[in-house]
């Protein structure tokens, strides 16, 4: 049985790999440049950000209570959801109260709503969620899932987008990116006009002031959160920051790491529903989602909750580049997904994904909050083996037996040239693409013994 990521790699279209690889490589280079321009010492900035996030995790309960109180002062209604099911129900109750007959809901890009599979649920209940981020919009038209946290259609090229738009009747076929964007824009404007509810995620929530911070480049978040009567924001409980000055660091770090921007085109600081203003939503709802995060907080994978969802680890990952996000069969993919999937859903179901890594460590090197992803991948592998969730094809206990006895080891080495000629199922994984290794030059031990 082949591991799922390997199976996916055998079937993926070369075109898709080319799209992901070239886009990722470009992002890796531009990220380094942006960070170097934005910070005198980018590594010090990353370490500081990690410390702020550690403080958040150490004081999560208090900060959440503070956030709730401050949000309520601002007129934001706050809900606590222990899992996706509860979060979906809360959202449905709000939708029913506003829009009992069903209708269009505009959605700003949000990974947490992907995590709880909100769109199919809303559709089952008579609503029509429309993704308004350009990439997410294409994903929705194609009935796909995002293949990257920040760039959902990194696996596609403009020809494929053109085909989708033509099929949906958005306009005459064109591969011009500006034309394509204008076609989507025209269509999306009609949705913004008719929708009574807007749904978004949250990039940061500031406990000190009860403000919700959203970043974006397309303006669709602004429209989604201000044009409709009701704004529902979903947020994982770890997305909190203690106070507003922290934004000075985090907005830049996120912009540089995600899209090589010192600051995204738009930054929204949402302080609640309209008061004396003539526009803006009449209601703002904040749904705080746990969905396994409290459990992660108490586990050895705690530091994964520092993640600010920039996708830099995906861009730099050699495995991700070869297979795209879809190979991971999970909302979050690449190195961050390989830890989050088993941490959120358990090693029994998702432990296998941690094996899809060469443990090269590039992810940790680029992480804006210094998450030790390779260490966690190893811990997940250990936990998976102990839980019997993942079976390794190599009988390691036999290897350990030979490797703990000097004479057995030396005898094994003598047999190696012969053994390497014998067929064995394990060898196929090596020989399909590579020649068998062979001895080069003199064996060390005989040289050493003769020399003495």
């Amino acid at each position: 049985m082949r591991p799922p990521v390997e199976k996916f790699a055998r079937e993926i279209a070369p075109e898709k790999v080319a799209n992901v690889s070239s886009a990722s490589a470009t992002r890796v280079i531009s990220r380094i440049k942006a960070l170097a321009e934005a910070f005198e010492d980018p590594d010090a900035a990353r370490r500081h950000a990690a410390e702020v996030k550690n403080y958040v995790l150490d004081n999560l309960k208090d900060l959440l209570i503070q956030l709730e109180a401050k949000c309520q002062e601002n007129g934001i209604r706050v809900y606590w959801a222990k899992d996706g099911e509860r979060a979906r129900q809360i959202a449905l109750e709000i939708c029913r109260a506003t829009y009992p007959e069903g209708g269009t809901i505009v959605k700003a890009k949000s990974m947490v709503t992907e995590e709880i599979h909100l769109n199919p649920f809303l559709e089952e209940n008579g609503y029509r969620p429309v993704e308004t981020d350009l990439g997410e919009y294409v994903v929705q038209l194609e009935h796909e899932t995002p293949s990257h946290i920040v760039a959902p259609i990194v696996h596609m090229n403009r020809g494929q987008v053109a085909n989708a738009f033509e099929r949906e009747g958005l306009g005459p076929r064109t591969e011009d990116p500006v034309e394509l964007t204008m076609q989507a824009r025209a269509k999306l404007r009609s949705h913004f006009r008719e929708a009574q509810i807007g749904i978004s995620g949250v990039n940061f929530a500031v406990a000190e002031t009860g403000r919700l911070v959203l970043v974006e480049n397309e303006g669709n978040n602004r429209l989604s959160t201000t044009a409709p009567v009701v704004h529902i924001a979903f947020m994982g409980i770890e997305k909190i920051l203690p106070c507003e000055p922290d934004l000075a660091l985090f907005l830049r770090l996120l912009g540089c790491s995600a899209t090589a921007q010192h600051m995204t085109g738009y930054v929204h600081l949402i302080s609640g529903p309209r008061k004396e203003e003539r526009d803006g939503p009449r209601e703002v709802h904040l749904i705080l989602l746990d969905n396994g995060r409290s459990r992660i907080l108490r586990s050895q994978y705690r530091e994964i909750l520092r993640c600010i969802r920039c996708g830099a680890c995906q861009n730099v990952c050699p495995v991700y580049r070869q297979v795209s996000g879809h190979a991971y069969h999970y909302v979050y993919s690449g190195p961050i997904g390989a830890v989050l999937a088993p941490a959120l859903d358990g090693v029994e179901k998702m432990g296998w994904v941690a094996k899809a890594s060469s443990l090269c460590g590039a992810c940790e090197e680029v992480c804006p909050v210094c998450i030790p992803i390779p260490r966690m991948l190893l811990q997940i592998r250990d936990e998976s083996v102990r839980a019997g969730a993942v079976k390794d094809s190599v009988p390691w206990h036999l290897f350990a037996k030979a490797a703990t006895s000097g004479w057995q080891w030396r005898a094994g080495l003598k047999l190696l040239p012969m053994a390497s000629k014998m067929p064995h199922p394990l060898k196929q994984g090596w020989t399909e693409y590579r020649a068998m290794p062979h001895r080069v030059g003199r064996p060390f031990r005989s040289w050493w013994n003769e020399r003495r």
Partner: protein, 259 residues
């Protein structure tokens, strides 16, 4: 200074010349080299596979062979260097050094970083060597163009450009840049067998960049990367020669002139 050579299992099994070169390099740097014959493997293959029980038993054997007892007292690598009586282990591999310095503490749950060093880390950081070979070297006629691949596990021990610096200091060597040098070779131990298509695709991309660089010799500091890349080169019929950097260093040591 006396150092113990950690040969690594790959050099024990396949690449004896790399071990021989490492001994010659260390001796040229003024060290007395010992070779504990009971050594086998550091335990990284089962560690990476998630079988930590098997890995721990190999690790205990390793400690016994190199440090006398499986429960030897906690050492600090930095202070061990300054202590002339201390036992230092040198390996021609950042991957194996990282296993002992970072993997063992994670696996056993203690904060014990044993004095085990990768070869260039030892030469540059601890012996202060910044030019190779030491002393006068014959002027070579022509420079050999090499492409250098930095093994990813150097990240685990904080290895920077020590290997490149030593190579760059040599008269007869020209290092040609390759595109996206930070990218992995795709080996990853058991990953290369469990995910062969992914592993080979990453490796082929690395080799493509080497070919594009114009170099015909690919040098690295870890035989793990090179066993995989060599296998790909042979299967693909590419004209690239792979060498460990210790071999390049050893070949530049001037022959002793009889007094």
């Amino acid at each position: 200074m006396t150092v113990k050579l950690m040969l690594t299992c790959l050099c024990d099994a396949f690449y004896g010349e790399v071990g021989i070169a490492t001994v010659r390099v260390l001796e040229h740097a003024g060290c007395k080299v010992e070779f504990p014959a009971g050594q086998t493997c550091c335990g990284q293959p089962p560690f990476n596979a998630g079988d930590w029980e098997a890995s721990r038993s190999v690790a205990r054997h390793w400690r016994e062979v190199f440090f006398g007892s499986p429960q030897s007292e906690i050492r600090n690598p930095k202070s061990a260097i300054r202590d002339p009586k201390s036992e230092i282990v040198v390996a021609p591999s950042s991957s194996c050094a990282a296993m002992i310095r970072e993997g063992y503490p994670l696996m056993f749950g203690y904060d014990d970083h044993l004095p085990v060093f990768e070869l260039s880390e030892f030469l540059v950081d601890h012996l202060g060597i910044d030019k190779w070979p030491i002393g006068p070297a014959p002027q070579p006629g022509q420079k050999t163009k090499i492409a250098f691949h930095q093994a990813c596990h150097g990240r685990g021990i904080g290895l920077k450009d020590q290997q490149i610096r030593l190579l760059a200091s040599m008269q007869g060597i020209e290092i040609v840049p390759i595109d996206q040098p930070e990218q992995c070779c795709g080996f990853g131990g058991a990953f290369s067998i469990g995910h062969p298509t992914v592993s080979a695709a990453i490796g082929k991309q690395k080799l493509k960049r080497v070919v594009e660089s114009g170099a015909t010799i690919l040098v690295s500091g870890d035989m793990g990367c090179l066993i995989h890349l060599q296998g790909l080169i042979e299967k693909e019929g590419l004209k690239i020669e792979v060498r460990h950097f210790a071999e390049i260093l050893a070949e530049a040591i001037p022959a002793k002139v009889p007094a």
